[in-house]
């Protein structure tokens, strides 16, 4: 099969520690990258700008949350608020004439600084209490964003986001915006893939497993928690700025409410804690699910000739979304990434299944 491991003999450490030690993985990644890069040429604009683009942007965001949740093991219920900080920072910077390239870095830095406030909660408490305090911070941020006119432009206001300009060139075409999202997503993915192989990544995992055990072997858990929150907030901030720049084109406080935080959490949980490919699956699943459900329900209604009220139709996908989270936690707590891993493990030794026991 594709994944055959036989005959792959690493003769030095560098080969063994390569990002993708198995050639099949390299070929697949290369193929997928080519497909992704060529997407504007074979995909209709509808698919490109309303499915592919948000999927990539949200995948990058989910990866950032996965850094906190899956790697460092710290609960974060205020992720959307951090994304919102980045989005508002970028929009305000751009409106004041800062070039886009600098504006998104500013967005990331602002988010990292404010997001580290969440880290101070994490330095003090953990587990449930951390979850609750991040939830409370989400409410505080929401409130601040919507009630300080200097940030939101007044309550109920919508701020128009200026066009993305790269080196002075305005990016307005669907393909251009798609490439912005693609490059960002690939960057974040590369960073996360390499995180596994660095001292930072291993330290984070040590902190996740048991923080005082990490302290015993000389890992400063305070420092690494702070780094984890700052890094993930940076990703969130830039992600929020890119989400606004490429997809929404305008920013309102509701785009980053507590429900969005829970949605991001659901992406990570459904995808799999600490799984990179899982974040892709999870983001795609959570984003596509409502649309697919709506189509499925309307298909059912025409097929069986019954009709549902408007309110029922509006809330049913949401209920199914809740049911899906429950189902995943019960059946496969490590999510879609784990399912993919199982299939891959099976194929690695196929047809000699008895090799792995």
């Amino acid at each position: 099969m594709l994944f055959r491991q036989a005959g792959i003999l690493h003769t030095n450490y560098a080969q063994d520690r390569a990002l993708f030690p198995i050639p099949a993985d390299r070929w697949m990644i290369g193929g997928l990258l080519l497909l992704a890069a060529a997407a504007p040429f074979y995909m209709s604009t509808l698919y490109l700008s309303s499915y592919m683009l948000p999927w990539l942007v949200w995948t990058a965001a989910a990866l950032g949350l996965n850094l906190i949740l899956g790697w460092a093991g710290q609960f974060h219920l205020g992720y959307a608020a951090v994304m919102g900080i980045g989005a508002y920072a970028a929009v305000h910077a751009q409106r004041n004439g800062v070039p886009w390239e600098i504006a998104i870095v500013l967005a990331g830095l602002t988010a990292a600084v404010i997001g580290s406030v969440f880290a101070f909660a994490a330095l003090r408490v953990k587990g449930l209490y951390l979850a609750l305090s991040t939830l409370a911070l989400q409410f505080v941020m929401d409130w601040t964003i919507s009630h300080v006119p200097a940030i939101s432009g007044g309550t109920q206001a919508t701020l128009q986001a200026p066009d993305i300009r790269i080196l002075g060139q305005a990016v307005t075409s669907d393909a251009g915006l798609y490439y912005v999202a693609l490059v960002w997503c690939v960057l974040v993915t590369t960073f996360m893939l390499n995180l596994r192989r660095t001292a930072l990544g291993r330290a984070l995992v040590a902190v996740r497993e048991k923080d005082y055990a990490a302290a015993v072997i000389g890992v400063n858990s305070f420092y690494f928690k702070l780094v984890a929150f700052a890094t993930s907030s940076f990703i969130a901030g830039v992600g929020g700025a890119i989400l606004i720049g490429t997809f929404y084109h305008a920013v309102t406080p509701e785009q980053f409410s507590v429900d969005v935080s829970i949605q991001a959490l659901a992406m990570v949980i459904v995808g799999g804690l600490g799984s990179i490919i899982g974040s892709y699956f999870g983001a795609g699943f959570i984003l596509l699910m409502p649309g697919v459900m709506n189509a499925f329900i309307s298909w059912l209604t025409t097929q069986f000739g019954f009709s549902l009220g408007i309110e029922t139709l509006a809330h049913l996908p949401h209920a199914l979304y809740g049911a899906l989270i429950i189902g995943f936690l019960l059946i496969e707590p490590l999510g879609l990434g784990k399912i993919y891993g199982n299939i891959r493990d099976y194929l690695l030794v196929w047809p000699f299944g008895y090799v792995k026991k």
Partner: protein, 295 residues
């Protein structure tokens, strides 16, 4: 500032706060027995409101029949949630458990709106709108009734924890391994605590439904409930009662002092600030046990 106005608003705030503590009690009951922070308590209140309305409006039963029926239904639903969703997660990381209760929250909230629709509908208890006069102070009659029921509920729970089953629950919350080893069925105890907390949620639903109608906003009581529960100490029912009064008074005063300064809607901010301050300064709350894990 008018001292009478402040007094009046803090008195009404205290009564509202006692009604918050009804929601908090449900969270505390579950946390005590199984260390599960139930973020679905708000959604359970909302579901209970819809269930009672279904009995009274769709089946045409009088309210005094519908409410006990609602209590029985919610008892079964509470046991069901524990049996189906939470029991299999025992011993898993807290992230999974929290996410599960969030999933249940979404499911119950959206599910009840799928079945019954999201428009707000009244749940009239027949409490008159005329205010009570306590000297020069005006008191909202619905809040006064709600506060009375909350205190009654607290007394009932205290009495319940003195019965045989109550002692079993206390043993489980003290140390469930030890409880297990002396032959107590921990699973049944935890299921029972979910059921009781669903019943408390039903009572909260009746009171809050009569005040603000039955709709999605009942689920938003979660933030208040969590704040009160944490402030009082997550494993102390009496703490929930006192913390409810405290939060209510602070909210009442804040809405007078802060609203003109901040342009309204300061209640949510006050809740969140109280929650953060409690967690930062005193994670085990006012009356909770001190063994809560600090970093």
């Amino acid at each position: 500032m008018d001292i009478l106005l402040l007094l009046e608003s803090s008195l009404n705030g205290a009564l509202v706060g006692l009604m918050y503590s009804l929601v908090a009690m449900g969270i505390v009951l579950i946390y005590k027995s199984s260390s599960v922070p139930n973020l679905a308590q708000g959604a359970m209140v909302m579901l209970a409101g819809y269930v009672i309305l279904a009995f009274s409006n769709q089946l045409g039963l009088p309210l005094w029949v519908a409410i006990p029926l609602g209590i029985v239904t919610m008892f079964i639903i509470g046991v069901g949630i524990e049996r189906v969703a939470l029991r299999r997660l025992a011993g898993r990381p807290i992230i999974m458990i929290l996410m599960m209760t969030l999933g249940i929250e979404i499911f119950l909230r959206a599910g009840s709106m799928t079945i019954w629709g999201g428009t707000s509908r009244p749940l009239p208890l027949g409490i008159s709108d005329a205010p009570l006069f306590l000297g020069p102070l005006l008191i909202n009659r619905a809040y006064a009734v709600g506060a009375g029921v909350a205190v009654a509920m607290f007394v009932l729970l205290v009495l319940f924890f003195r019965t045989r089953i109550g002692v079993v629950l206390r043993a489980i919350s003290d140390d469930y391994t030890a409880a297990w080893s002396v032959g107590i069925s921990v699973e049944r105890g935890v299921a029972l605590s979910w059921a009781i907390s669903a019943v408390v949620a039903t009572i909260a639903a009746v009171l809050w439904g009569s005040v603000q109608g039955v709709d999605q906003s009942l689920a938003l009581l979660l933030l208040k409930g969590v704040t009160v529960a944490v402030l009082g100490g997550l494993d102390s029912i009496g703490g929930a009662l006192l913390a409810g009064i405290l939060l209510g008074i602070v909210e009442g005063l804040a809405s007078i002092v802060l609203d003109p300064l901040l342009g309204g809607a300061s209640r949510e901010l006050v809740d969140a600030a109280m929650l953060i301050l409690t967690i930062m300064l005193r994670p085990h709350g006012l009356f909770g046990r001190h063994d809560i894990e600090r970093v």
